[in-house]
């Protein structure tokens, strides 16, 4: 009788060996992890999921007052508040995907050290759970959008709104890709964990979150600085998002294509590094 094997555990030295097949059976697990993250986050808080709104709300207020009014970096043509709010929530989606997935190995070593399930479940479910917070914030933003439309404050949503899912998924995948790279490296070098938190906040200043790039003459399209600036893969996506909902700014398709290519490259690199380290990270973490 021929012996049948369902699984073969091999040595660690393979280039890319990911349990994609097993991932398909993990829909329930992903769902439960998402639920766990969400429920656990707001347990024993009085305000609960309202916290998801409070954070971007106050960030937006501070941005509007200091950057928009005092420093004069605000948007032209649309109210500062909705301009900053839209930028903040999109940026938060990206940055939280990045920071949360970057803790995948170090933060979950207790579970991961004891049972096997396709490791990719962790970053995927973390990324998905970021969307829950985002949708709450997004609904909050839509309320203001409707208010500004009624008061005729210069906002003009257009058909590019249909691009939204693509933009959001692209940003989440980009954040996840960077997060996986960092989390693979932090299994050995904890240095990177230190870099993540301030690195992300520095990155936000290199992206059009706290100011309107199109009202800055230094960043006018065609200049060298503009070209360098637009290489930041987050920038074109934020620009399209704002253009779609507020009708402000411009869309530069060439740089958006570059951004998408970057995203795919980062995600692939992240997956390869993740699959390399998922086998033995328990020995070093």
């Amino acid at each position: 009788m021929e012996q049948k094997w369902t699984t073969i555990v091999k040595t660690e030295n393979k280039f890319f060996d990911m349990d994609i097949k097993g991932l398909k059976n993990c829909k329930d697990l992903i769902f439960l992890f998402v639920r766990r993250t969400f429920v656990a986050k707001y347990k024993q808080t009085v305000l609960g999921p309202a916290w998801a709104i409070i954070q971007p709300f106050f960030t937006t207020v501070v941005y509007s007052v200091f950057f928009g009014n005092i420093a004069g970096l605000g948007a032209s043509g649309v109210p500062n508040f909705i301009f900053y709010l839209s930028g903040t929530i999109v940026w938060t989606l990206f940055s939280s995907c990045l920071t949360e997935t970057s803790h995948t190995f170090t933060g979950n070593s207790a579970i991961l050290g004891k049972v096997y399930f396709p490791r990719l479940v962790m970053p995927i479910s973390t990324a998905i759970s970021q969307f829950i917070g985002f949708f709450i914030q997004f609904a909050f933003m839509l309320c203001f959008l409707v208010y500004y439309m009624i008061t005729d404050a210069g906002v003009s949503p257009n058909l590019y709104i249909l691009m939204t899912p693509v933009l959001l998924i692209q940003l989440a995948v980009l954040g996840m890709g960077f997060g996986m790279i960092i989390s693979s490296l932090t299994t050995k070098y904890r240095d990177l964990a230190m870099v993540v938190s301030f690195g992300v906040s520095l990155w936000s200043y290199c992206s059009p979150v706290a100011y309107d790039m199109f009202s800055r003459s230094q960043l006018a399209p065609g200049t060298l600085l503009y070209k360098i600036y637009m290489l930041n893969p987050v920038t074109p996506s934020i620009n399209i998002f704002r253009y779609a909902f507020l009708g402000t700014g411009e869309i530069d398709w060439m740089f958006y294509t570059i951004s998408c290519v970057t995203t795919v490259a980062v995600a692939l690199l992240g997956a390869v590094m993740f699959s390399k380290s998922e086998k033995t990270f328990m020995d070093t973490v």
Partner: protein, 419 residues
């Protein structure tokens, strides 16, 4: 050929001792660059060689074994023998350095209690989460939910956050989830240690049922020989990452228990052995010598002379001696009283003879106890030490015990006489 569930083939697992890598990115880049440029590594300490930088440690060394489908197999070994490492490899938590492991069927592991329990979630939520982590779909858990809760005995608290559970309750719930899964292979590492005795028995019954009725394979690791005995059909004993024995549970336990230098000795030095803190050591056992034999293996019915030597700090205290005989799994067989010992200050000796016809053929250890007891029954312990290890083997006189069954116990009481 019977169908196999697990096949471990020439598996080695290597760990590096000491700090891993350069510990910082900078150090690692420096070392890496130096290697590329064929220069000396700036992070090496003087006298170190490039490849001997970290000493390597083989947790598993070319280990191979097979486990058949539907078997319950125990893995025994002292701390550091590689038990947990092989379980981790089988569970795919980490990958082997060399060799392959072949698995047939889904695996459920309970390497430690409450794997993946989230303290903030309720018992109910955790059952689903834990089940899913262990590879069950939501529909499967739905079907088994009531059964799981009933088995766990925590039904009343199922909607309370797990952080308010006692450790026993967590174990019970975790065990229930894992043992109700439909996976083909179940891996358990010391899980039963926390539950109370009733629950332990319940678990063992459950495991036996799971193995016998459903034909599932169970791999069990524990230092608790009583549970190993009642659960496992077969055992593998590991020592320093290698397999040193594979066979019946009784033999394996014996190999495991005597896996040290006391094997086949006739002189047992106890002067440096660890003592119970209750002992006041005023009279301290130095050694025990089987002075008439060359081996500690006796035939049933042999009467074995031995000499004990002890050190007394005074000569005016009353000194009594008794011996507790233990079976190989440390369950006591019985006590023998040695009466009062005359002694002077300094080294003393006394000779006794031990009748093995009271002991069923098997392996035994003996604790010698020096003590005094007053009229009221309160006991003064001078010393207690495991001083002897011996085997009783079948002989001419063990006819009645040829078909000994473990339910009989290990002591042979004197025959009863007809009146």
């Amino acid at each position: 050929m019977e169908e196999l569930a697990i096949k471990v083939e020439n598996v080695s697992k290597e760990y590096r001792l000491g700090a891993i890598g350069g510990a910082t990115l900078k150090g690692e880049i420096q070392s890496g660059l130096a290697k590329l440029l064929h220069k000396e590594d700036p992070n090496l300490k003087i006298g170190e060689k490039a490849h001997g930088k970290n000493e390597r440690f083989l947790a598993l060394d070319d280990l191979s074994f097979d486990i058949k489908k539907g078997e319950t197999v125990g893995i025994l070994g002292h701390n550091g023998a590689g038990k947990s490492t092989i379980l981790k490899l089988i569970c795919r938590v980490t990958a082997p350095t060399k060799g392959n492991i072949y698995l047939n069927g889904r695996i459920t592991s309970m390497l430690e209690v409450g794997t993946g329990f989230h303290p903030e979630l309720t018992g109910r939520e955790n059952v689903y989460l834990n089940g899913a982590i262990l590879g069950m779909s939501k529909a499967e858990i739905d079907k088994k939910f009531d059964e799981i809760v009933e088995f766990s005995e925590v039904g009343q608290f199922i909607d309370t956050p797990v952080k308010r559970y006692s450790s026993g309750m967590k174990v019970k719930l975790a065990f229930s989830v894992a043992s109700h899964l439909d996976s083909e292979i179940l891996i358990m590492d010391e899980v039963l240690a926390v539950g109370d005795i009733n629950f332990q028995n319940k678990c063992i019954n459950r495991m036996n049922k799971v193995a016998e009725k459903d034909g599932r394979t169970v791999v069990y690791v524990s230092h608790n020989m009583a549970t190993v005995k009642s659960l496992c059909q077969r055992c593998i004993v590991l020592g320093h990452g290698k397999k040193i024995f594979e066979g019946s549970t009784e033999e394996a336990i014996a190999v495991y228990m005597q896996n040290d230098e006391m094997d086949n000795a006739v002189f047992f030095d106890t002067s440096k052995a660890k003592r119970h803190p209750k002992c006041n050591k005023r009279h301290l056992l130095q050694n025990l010598h089987l002075y008439e034999t060359e081996t500690n293996k006796f035939s049933y019915g042999d009467v074995v002379p031995f000499r004990i030597e002890w050190n007394s700090e005074n000569d005016d205290e009353r000194l009594l001696m008794k011996m507790v005989i233990n079976g190989i799994d440390t369950t006591p067989v019985g006590v023998i009283f040695g009466g009062e010992l005359e002694h002077k200050k300094g080294v003393n000796t006394a000779e006794y003879k031990l009748d093995t016809s009271y002991l069923v053929p098997g392996k035994y250890t003996v604790d010698v106890i020096l003590y005094d007891q007053d009229q009221a029954g309160s006991v003064m312990f001078y010393d207690r030490a495991t001083a002897l290890r011996f085997d009783v083997e079948h002989g001419d006189k063990s006819e009645n015990l040829k078909h000994w069954f473990k339910d009989w116990g290990n002591a042979v009481l004197p025959c009863i006489e007809r009146i």
